[in-house]
Subunit: 248 residues, 4 copies
């Protein structure tokens, strides 16, 4: 049963995890979807509305503080009246470059740091005051859930700039968990260790093409929902998700 | 809705996590409860039956291969006919001694290694063939879920022998996850990082006595259930659980 | 005995680790010292020369690619003729801010990412070709040694932006080790976990004021030298350094 | 220059790391060599004596407390008069079995736990009082150095029982470092991540047969010596060692 007194915001909505998370949380809350381009969220907003949910899409570049400020201004005016923020999901992460280090450019590094670290920074600063505000009344502990990757815990050869951004995100997430956990906000970091099964990866052969060898984004969304609904005496700060056949 | 074609077995049932996990899984499956002494499980078996569930308690010392063999012989004869094993939870862990190292005895170390590492070893050898057998038909991926502790990832001063047992358990769990994951069995390890709220800890003041400063065993059980129901494309190998106010 | 055919470069020279490392490596190689301001290296350059060593100081902002390019242009012209690069040490790390997250500004984050991640990126791109070039003839495997901190592996409350930069550096370091190790360059990351005993920290009481409760920068330098002289069949990628009385 | 007032003891002496460590420490101290069979140490004792060093070999099963007690009784009577213990190295580690988990026997697990965890336990209890006693006068902080392996930090498929023992050793080592570090004893754990170049591995092709693709035990010994000579303001608790060409 959806609560109308609370809402969720998902940053980094596209065809994969973002979409599934938005749909999953929309079963409980009105949802704001942020993505750089409206094509990324338009269909999902429509899908949520069709299922009787409430949704708003806003074109936002989370790496840009002005753009984030403007998005949350819009949310405040058009969406958040009488509502508190129950969940904020940060699922942005461009800057994926696999190159020999001596061929990487400074702009590859900047793209990774901006979309990962700076984006989370802006998003967390915009949402944490609202999440704190929801602590006393929220049905579940207000949550900031962050999508990580294999590169969050491992700097592989030729993945340096991408890993730099992902490690930085994990650092911020840990720090926020330690500062805001005691104030009632649940900050969790999820290491997605595998290829996600989305339109863009349809042609990829991973794990020898075995069934369910790519991660179902709906399954990811279920774990995010579980994190959100954990009792405050039993918060998970970090979990990993990978296909049963993935080497690790 | 409980399935009668599958069952679960919980080793290390007492007043805390074991009880909550048994009750949680009993909502879905008939459950076998293992503990060294029947007082540890008798009330819980009764409670499950009262709620319309099915339960069997067997006095078992998981550190003793004969005792484990005998328990599973009993299960086979009295409980498992026409059923497959959907979930096995290893929640045993005695050997908790906090002492200056030069005052610890070899038997402290042995107690920790036996109840943790050898117990899991025996339990895993007894359950994995049955879990594998359930893979093709189980509603959720058959699961082996293992309870860990802070000492699973940190050897604190004066916790050496306890940590030795807990590290060893984590090693086994990782190894089993890598061997049996690709065969469809979900092996997960849970780091319980805090004091659990059970009768024995009622008098403890932790986290300055703050509300929910001890971990609710029911909350732990919810996370175990979530692990069990994860889609095989998205298994968690390890997660941590701690109170929102816990220092870490 | 100092080799004149090879040289070392130390970035981030000040009164602490940088100075000790420069002095230690100057016993074996001519050394280039990089720091933003000439006051940071002038005395050390003089000290090295006084001891019969060879040294050159260059004012450089490692976060700025132009500044790094210009520094290495100067090195090439004034210092590196007939010499190969045996060791490059990255010891830069500003951006240390301890603040509640909601009081941190984007420029705090940027300062940390720039001086840590981007600085290492620029420095590594400038030095790795030279280090590779030295592989066949260098008396010890050419080395890139990176100074880390507690915040490289732990995002503490209110240390988020600093940790973001330090985690990012560690990611880059791991990735470089995996890419350039097999080509003969030793990339190592050192977690300095404690307060360093330098003029600026004289007044700090740490570890209850116990003797040697702050890290001797000369001791750090000895470990860097050990890393540099490790045989290529036995490279250390990461080690920690902390006072015997430090809590960890 | 060898000190006659201090001695070292190396447990687990064979043709590899133990031999090199014994020879390296024998350049500074009289050395006791422990191994189960005298063939393992006889030649090395002779070699040390030939080089003008002092050495004593004692057949000892470190997993057996009686055997350890008897060895240290012998040391006390025949070797340690007027001397203090400067360094104790634990390099034992049998129990290496690679098997599918369902084919492993309880005795495989026991062998790993005994030779790794229990052996270190016995050895640490026998040596720590002597190491503490040497703190005020030892030229370098008295040291307990422990040999680990890849399996100390990773439970690979089919390596479960071996990893259980190695994880347990690491737990004990961490705990001892935290308890005895503040009292002046340096406890360090070394992750040897690769195949060691010893007679037994001559035929192994690793890292595509590349030169120096196996770890030189002499190089390992140099790092142990470095650990032993670290200043107490700058102790390393853990480092890894692997060939430059090793995948990790």
């Amino acid at each position: 049963m959806a609560s109308k007194s609370f809402y969720a915001v998902v940053a980094g909505v596209g065809a994969g995890t973002g979409r599934s998370v938005a749909l999953r949380f929309a079963r409980a809350y009105p949802v704001v979807l942020l993505a750089r381009n409206s094509e990324s969220y338009a269909d999902i907003v429509a899908e949520i509305r069709q299922q009787g949910g409430e949704a708003l899409g806003i074109s936002t570049d989370t790496a840009d503080p002005q753009s984030v400020a403007s998005a949350f201004e819009t949310i405040k005016k058009e969406f958040a009246a009488g509502r508190k923020l129950a969940a904020a999901i940060y699922n942005v992460g461009a800057g994926f470059a696999i190159k020999p280090f001596l061929e990487v450019s400074a702009s590859d590094l900047d793209a990774s740091l901006a979309s990962n670290a700076r984006g989370l920074f802006n998003f967390a600063q915009a949402t944490l005051p609202s999440l704190l505000d929801a602590v006393p009344t929220s049905p579940h502990p207000p949550s900031l859930i962050i999508t990580g990757a294999t590169a969050s815990v491992r700097g592989s050869a030729r993945f340096g700039t991408f890993a730099a951004g992902k490690f930085a995100v994990r650092a911020l997430g840990q720090s926020l968990a330690r500062e805001f956990g005691p104030r009632g906000v649940h900050v969790a970091h999820v290491i997605v260790d595998g290829v996600i099964d989305i339109p863009r990866t349809k042609g990829y052969t991973v794990n020898e093409g075995k069934e369910d060898g790519k991660i179902s984004p709906d399954a990811i969304a279920e774990s995010y929902w579980h994190l959100h609904t954990q009792h405050r005496s039993s918060f998970t700060q970090e979990l990993d998700l990978r296909p049963y056949v993935e080497k690790f």
